[in-house]
């Protein structure tokens, strides 16, 4: 059943390719995309169940064994994130079909599939250079989506996102060179095994490589000094694509940060206090940015930064020694990540509905939605209060877990920042509520002044919103199953031995005759490799 691990890559690749072939036939293209998205959800569910029962699943591409071949590894965290990305692909795809009346521009759906391909690849790969490649795949798709779906502003946002993200990628690339020069391997599991010895010999070089990777991932995750690509670009595409970005782009950076400090660079704990400080600043500055904006999508984009800070704070809290607190911190990371990847896209989708119903997302021009659209108002309120962390919604448990981990590890500054940011999140959400829903529509602004295309809101627009809101509500009222899943994923992340064992000792399918010519021992890599695994 090993081929199943390749399915999260093959399915979106196939649907992107077939979708491009159906360029002139929008209905066929939509059917292909939907089939691919549904298939992906099925694959992800099976993978989650398999990993939950049978432990980490790996696939050595081409049958070459671990440190030589390219490893795909799915542990509990990866499986959970694959499920998340596939559900979001389906939701955003449906919403997109509704938004464009089942006739999106022909490139959009294949590009969304390519984005999912890159995201899934990044979640599964067990190789540092391969991670770089998947980053580039998803970034290029995201730039193209921005440029194609956002009009004038989309082009502008794409240029900004591209330049800043490319600088991050260059950091990544140079760091990969340094890591290979130090270790002679780029396999994450292999790096974990060797890093302690290398760190003892070359502490400065190891810390330099770790910080460069940290900067690259922090940029993708939109942490404090390097988040400026996000508010310049997140809000410009169509709401369905905003939702996809909000669900997945920063999450890939956060996932990579978490892996970085637990697997290949577990020795680089000295960087964590700096990361923790930056996350506290990120929380506060993101929400301050949100407070000063008066357009719904921009407010939501700034909130993404703030929430990213909360998630990354859990990674920074790995600096504590107490294994219970570490487990709690990583559990908080996983739970918060899932919560945010459901709530934020729901809010972006609702902002699209507000635009359709109210004529726009500028708060100064909007108003009067509550008496006119009670269901829409209730949907917004549910998602907004969950984002702000009010009980009994999913955001409450997510924030509680982060705050508890911060308190248990004695990080009172972080605790204060998190509480302040939470309060201001509520304030800025109330601002949207007051302006768009509560206050009467400003005089002279009659109904839907700038409703662009058909303003119909069909089930394809409501369906994904309701699906995400239902998940948020279930996660809020019954958090325990999701918390348990998150805890198991966190335990897997914090136990690199199991990951290493699964990657390095997983025999490539012997029936296929894995290549036997192991020339690598004579290739004189800079550092001698330790003994190979025994068959």
């Amino acid at each position: 059943m090993n081929w199943l691990i390749a399915a999260p890559l093959l399915v979106p690749l196939l649907s992107a390719g077939l979708g491009l072939l159906a360029w002139r036939r929008p209905r066929l293209q939509a059917a292909i995309s939907l089939a691919g998205q549904i298939g992906l959800v099925a694959v992800a569910v099976i993978l989650v169940l398999q990993v939950d029962r049978g432990g980490i699943r790996t696939l050595q591409a081409g049958g070459w064994a671990a440190p030589i071949g390219i490893t795909l590894a799915v542990d509990a965290l990866s499986a959970l994130l694959l499920l998340l990305s596939s559900v979001m692909a389906l939701a955003a795809g449906l919403y997109g079909l509704g938004w464009w009346n089942a006739r999106p521009a022909p490139a959009l759906q294949p590009l969304m599939s390519v984005l999912i391909l890159g995201v899934n690849g990044a979640f599964m790969t067990g190789d540092l250079f391969n991670l770089y490649v998947w980053f580039e795949v998803l970034l290029l798709a995201s730039f193209a989506l921005l440029a194609l779906s956002g009009g004038r502003a989309g082009l502008e946002g794409a240029v900004k996102a591209l330049v800043l993200n490319m600088i991050g990628s260059l950091f990544f690339l140079v760091a990969v060179g340094v890591v290979y020069g130090l270790a002679g391997t780029l396999n994450l599991a292999d790096l974990h095994l060797r890093m302690e010895a290398i760190h003892a010999a070359h502490p400065t070089a190891v810390m330099a490589a770790a910080s460069m990777l940290g900067v690259a991932f922090a940029l993708k995750a939109a942490l404090f000094p390097v988040y400026f690509w996000l508010p310049a670009s997140y809000h410009v595409p169509a709401p369905g694509i905003c939702a996809l970005f909000a669900a997945l782009l920063t999450k890939v950076g956060l996932y990579s940060l978490l892996r970085l400090f637990t697997l290949p660079f577990a020795v680089a704990g000295a960087l964590l206090p700096a990361l923790l400080t930056l996350t506290a600043i990120t929380m506060v500055s993101g929400v301050l940015g949100a407070l000063t904006r008066f357009e719904i999508k921009r407010i939501l984009a700034w909130h993404s930064i703030s929430q990213t800070g909360y998630i990354a704070a859990g990674i920074g809290l790995l600096l504590t020694k107490d294994p219970q607190v570490r487990l709690l911190a990583v559990t908080a990371v996983v739970f918060f990540l899932l919560h945010h990847a459901l709530v934020k896209p729901a809010l972006f989708m609702i902002s699209g509905l507000i635009a359709r119903r109210g004529g726009g997302t500028e708060l100064t021009l909007a108003g009067g939605l509550y008496p006119a659209r009670p269901v829409l108002s209730a949907a917004f309120l549910l998602a907004a209060l969950s984002l702000a962390g009010l009980p009994p919604l999913s955001g409450f448990w997510a924030k509680l877990a982060v705050l508890r981990a911060a308190a248990l590890s004695g990080q009172w500054g972080l605790l204060a920042a998190a509480l302040a940011a939470g309060l201001m999140t509520l304030l800025s959400m109330l601002k949207i509520w007051n302006e768009a829903f509560w206050k009467p529509r400003p005089a002279g602004e009659t109904a839907a002044p700038s409703a662009p295309r058909s303003a119909a809101i069909g089930p394809a627009l409501w369906g994904p919103v309701l699906l995400l809101l239902a998940l948020v509500a279930v996660m809020g009222v019954f958090p325990q199953p999701v918390l348990d899943l998150s805890r198991r994923a966190a335990a897997g992340v914090l136990d690199p031995q199991a990951y290493v064992a699964a990657v390095r000792w997983d025999d490539a399918d012997p029936a296929r005759g894995a290549p036997q010519a192991r020339t690598e021992t004579t290739l004189t890599a800079p550092n001698p490799r330790p003994e190979r695994r025994q068959r």
Partner: protein, 115 residues
Amino acid sequence: MIVWLALIAGLLFAAGLHQLQQRSLPRILIGLLLLSNAANLALFTASAPLREVPPLAAVGESAPPAGAADPLPQALVLTAIVIGFAVLAFTGALLLRTRDVLAEEDTDLIRETDA
């Protein structure tokens, strides 16, 4: 040799960053081009000692001669060059289109999406 390569990489980084800061869309492309090459050179230089023996096994041998170059960094840098080329081609198209649509080249004046 390695010192020279390192110096050249550093010079390319400096020139690329300088170009990026010139507030002009076409110069952004030039800057990214230089930076991308700088990163590729740094990747190649940092990842393995330079050796001039190709890693090819002679007929009948199962391993290349001792002291052969490590082929993996070469594969890495080739991949990185290809990816960089694709990204830069896209960047060129995007910048050209942006300049046409916005009718503006000065990046300081392109700030609609910021505020």
